[in-house]
């Protein structure tokens, strides 16, 4: 019986980290909404998560492998992504677009956190009160 699913808990935890990183990036975009010449940054969440998944799969398949330090290889790629045409000052931040991304990011973050909480609660139950 697979109560202790380490892989999914690790994945959920890493997803939470990545969402916070993206939140930081988006915060920087919004703070620089009026900075001349500034272009908004974005990061590829799925790609970073995929690397983490592969890292975990590697760790699980062969116990003889050294434990994979997943964070080292699965850092997200950050790139510039203008929201629209630059104004006179060269700024390309679209405030509405960035705020939407921030909110969407937060919802994903909180849902992932809720799933993690549920997994941990199941673990705790199986280990604790479930026993006699």
């Amino acid at each position: 019986m697979n109560i202790v699913s380490d892989a999914i808990i690790e994945l959920l935890a890493r997803a939470g980290e990545l969402r916070m990183q993206r939140a930081q990036l988006l915060a920087g975009n919004i703070a620089n909404a009026d900075t001349p010449g500034y272009t908004p940054r974005e990061m590829d969440f799925q790609q970073a998560l995929e690397l983490e998944k592969q890292g975990l799969a590697l760790a699980v398949t062969d116990e003889k492998h050294l434990p994979v330090i997943a964070t080292a290889g699965s850092e997200p790629v950050v790139y510039e992504k203008p929201d629209g045409q630059p104004g006179l000052d060269g700024n390309t931040v679209g405030l509405e677009s960035q705020m939407t991304k921030l909110t969407e990011n937060r919802i994903h973050y909180e849902a992932g956190l809720a799933a993690l909480r549920k997994k941990l609660a199941l673990l705790r139950y199986a280990v604790g009160e479930g026993g006699m």
Partner: protein, 101 residues
């Protein structure tokens, strides 16, 4: 254990659809308790795995929040129910072993 209506033994048929053994008297035997328990455990494992898969799918953007929430909740209920059944079984076993024969 979720028992589907088709599996309820009816009065005119003593044999269960999944039963495999038929004794010479013509009365079919019910599946053994261990078989029923085994099936229930398999179902539980399936439910737990489905919950994990839903969470992973959500992270990848393939599964909705509601679908994931439902799958995890099902896993939760299944686990708690199985624990409950297990506790009852152990209780029953203890009860029986206490009997003086």
């Amino acid at each position: 254990m979720v028992i589907k209506p088709a599996e309820f033994p009816t009065i005119d048929r003593i044999d269960l659809p999944l039963s495999r053994e038929v004794n010479p008297a013509g009365v079919a035997e019910q599946p053994g308790f261990d078989e029923l328990l085994g099936r229930a455990l398999e179902k539980l494992d399936g439910t737990l795995k489905a919950g994990d898969a839903a969470a992973a799918g959500f992270l990848q953007g393939k599964v909705d929040i509601q679908q994931m929430a439902l799958a995890l909740e099902k896993a939760d209920i299944s686990l708690r129910f199985m624990m409950h059944v297990r506790n009852r079984v152990v209780e029953a076993y203890k009860e029986i072993s206490r009997m003086n024969i």
